[in-house]
């Protein structure tokens, strides 16, 4: 079946360092990927997306990389700040037109 997974359930980084959150997906036919940030008590918040015809996309302090060869997606956050503390989910838009979410990585920022 379709599934998306993340490599690490938790990640701790020092404030000011760059964070890299990884995600592996299983369906090579998936054509659209999204990263979400979820803070405690809130719904997932859209961060950035990428379509399968691209391998990199940049936003404000965030970059998403897509490697279709190994079915790997990553989110890079530059100069991590305390406000970046949250659970991060990758999601894959499968050929069935449904969004499949990974298990999430909890990012903790150390002062």
């Amino acid at each position: 079946g379709e599934s998306v997974g993340l490599h690490l359930p938790t990640l701790s980084v020092q404030e000011g360092d760059n964070s890299i959150i990884n995600c592996a997906y299983s369906n090579s036919a998936s054509d659209y990927f999204i990263w979400y940030k979820q803070e405690s008590g809130k719904g997932p918040q859209f961060i950035i997306d990428i379509r399968s015809n691209m391998d990199k996309r940049q936003g404000q302090r965030v970059t998403v990389l897509l490697n279709k060869t190994v079915k790997h997606l990553s989110l890079q956050i530059a100069a991590t700040q305390p406000g970046d503390s949250a659970v991060y989910f990758c999601a894959e838009n499968s050929p069935s037109e449904k969004l499949v979410f990974g298990q999430g990585t909890r990012l903790t920022i150390n002062p």
């Binding site: 999204i34 719904g43 997932p44 918040q45 859209f46 449904k98 969004l99 999430g104």
Partner: protein
Amino acid sequence: EADIYQTPRYLVIGTGKKITLECSQTMGHDKMYWYQQDPGMELHLIHYSYGVNSTEKGDLSSESTVSRIRTEHFPLTLESARPSHTSQYLCASSEWRGLGNQPQHFGDGTRLSIL
């Protein structure tokens, strides 16, 4: 910024009660979704809709039902709540464009506890 609202935010209620969780969006999005999420875990799709009078079951079996009588409103109903229904319920919506997929925008959820 997406405008999607869920009420109530929190609900604690006894077994056997009928519950309706409300979800409204003001963006005119055709597509709407309901997800179930246990704390810190991944989201599981339980219902979705492509537009008015369209409802489909998601990947996770659920005893809930939904309706879509108006574009902006997508309520979820549990006819008889049970403790196994305790979870967080998230509503989302997205545009349907001919150019391809668009991101889903989420409400802040309803945290449901069944005693």
